[in-house]
Symmetry: C2
Subunit: 317 residues, 2 copies
């Protein structure tokens, strides 16, 4: 059984795990990232963490095939550089070279959303399918595009940003500087924004009552639970949410025609309530009605997708 | 020098040519498609045309590596089936099997827009680039997506329909049944629609004057020429057109991050006037401003792209 290390490099924590070739985590651990320190320090800590998880899993470095890193932002896969990672304040960091000072193994890097998609393709909801798309509905909307079993991220590593498809020209302003991006309408943040507005204008709504008028307590679950309970304001927001999510998924189908689309992130915890509504509206808007089209499902690996997918970069390379 | 036959199967004509491995057409010819006849008759005519162009190019069937066909609609590449081609009234037609009754060579099929993109990648505007997208601004908006040198059309052959990205949820109704598709705003048809409206409400505009009030004579060139001449109505339409085209191109960059995007079709004859306006607005909306991004250019092969790209299916397979 071949073994790999996967590293989930986040703005808050660095997670690392020893993963077998089937995508099973044998042992994992995490440390705070300590953003703001020199990158050399952070990468030294990452090296220590990697050595620690290998040891605690009962192996030595020589048992491991490679290290894979899932990083926010843009990665140069070939040079194992992080080109640009906004929430680490990193630009052009030679992660592979630096990390090999501490653990002498091949290092692969890809974007965190891409490796999460890879994890779902290797051993999660998209297992057994050649072409898949995983979208993550959280603070923003992340996405991993798997073509022929490999993450696709374009010529400069900046692709697969489905959260920044423009679905409403001149629509709501996005953090990226454009207007009308998919994530403005389909992230958890969008549900919260609309939930707050509804609670303000409709203090009689279940959304307002659930948080006892404390608008800062409104999260995606509060809004979706209100919709589930049949609350008028909750339903209005949820239907609009499903409508925009459908239009994005139709666009993804018309562009990629994948075998399967997995939906992850906080909002996906709504499970069948989300999936049933989505399937119903997607069916109505499919272009080639006579042909098979992508199946929709909820992603399976949750937060572990980061470590697993990063580890699997070594398997597919 | 290896030789291939490329067939451009259209609703009006069937074109065929002998093409060398560099994508140069040695000889070509065409016949009317005669849509509505049994598919066996049409494919027999196609076989005769292929034999004729091989002979007139000075070769025999055994000199040819393979036949490639660019077809409207959806193709099953592996079985050499046309799954669905609306303007031929074809569904599930075993083109490869039928054609081999007349010319016994391997047969490859792909969508006509995909093969046009392949032609540009092999020997046109996108030559030398690994990942490219060609969009064709004509009656509709067609597109060919080339990933790692090969056309990408998804798991069921129904992808790469960039004309049906939804760029304006609940926007203008599209022939596909959805609303707000990219092609509703960026096809020649869109320019004509808006040109007619402007000519109606502004009979003093250059658009109305150019066609002497005969609205049926308004085409994309009339509208763009009015913009070039500084006509207020023409400029309004052109700016809006560039705005939507930019937003679609930004979406393409955020999704595919290709090396290059080629723009073809009737509207692309506006050349630098189109490209300069587009480059200016695209630069303003690029997400990762510190990274290199796709270059924009005008496609080079015009109508020959269909025959050349179809022929090249044999080269890449």
């Amino acid at each position: 059984m071949k073994l790999y290390v996967g590293v989930d490099l986040g703005g808050t924590n660095i997670g690392a795990g020893v993963v077998d070739e089937n995508g099973r985590i044998l042992h994992k651990d995490e440390i705070p990232t300590g953003v703001g320190r020199p990158y050399q320090e952070i990468i030294k800590d990452m090296g220590d963490l990697i050595k620690k998880v290998i040891k605690n899993a009962g192996y030595v470095v020589d048992d491991i095939v490679s290290i894979g890193i899932g990083s926010p932002g843009v990665a140069d896969k070939e040079k194992a550089f992080i080109v640009y990672a906004n929430n680490l304040y990193w630009k052009h960091i030679p992660v592979g070279e630096e990390l090999r000072k501490y653990v002498n193994l091949p290092v692969y890097i890809d974007n965190d959303a891409n490796v999460a998609g890879l994890a779902e393709a290797v051993c999660g909801a998209c297992q057994g399918y050649r072409n898949s798309v995983t979208i993550t509905l959280g603070t923003g909307v992340g996405s991993g595009i798997i073509i022929d079993g490999k993450p696709y991220s374009g010529s400069h590593g900046a692709g697969a940003e489905l959260g920044h498809m423009i679905v409403s020209v001149d629509g709501i302003e996005c953090t990226c500087g454009n207007k009308g991006c998919f994530e403005r309408y389909t992230s958890a943040t969008a549900l919260i924004r609309e939930g707050k507005e509804a609670a303000k204008t409709h203090p009689e709504s279940l959304i307002a009552k659930t948080v006892k008028g404390d608008l800062d307590k409104i999260n995606a679950k509060v809004v979706i639970d209100a919709a589930k309970a049949g609350d008028e304001e909750g339903l209005k927001i949820f239907r609009r949410y499903i409508h925009y999510l459908t239009m994005g998924i139709i666009t993804i189908i018309n562009i990629f025609d994948p075998d399967i689309i997995a939906i992850g992130g906080g909002v996906s915890r709504a499970g069948d309530f989300l999936l049933d509504a989505l399937n119903k509206e997607v069916e109505e808007h499919i272009f080639y009605k006579d042909l098979p089209h992508a199946k929709l499902c909820i992603s399976e690996l949750g937060n572990d997708a980061g470590i697993i997918g990063a580890a699997m970069l070594g398997k597919i390379n």
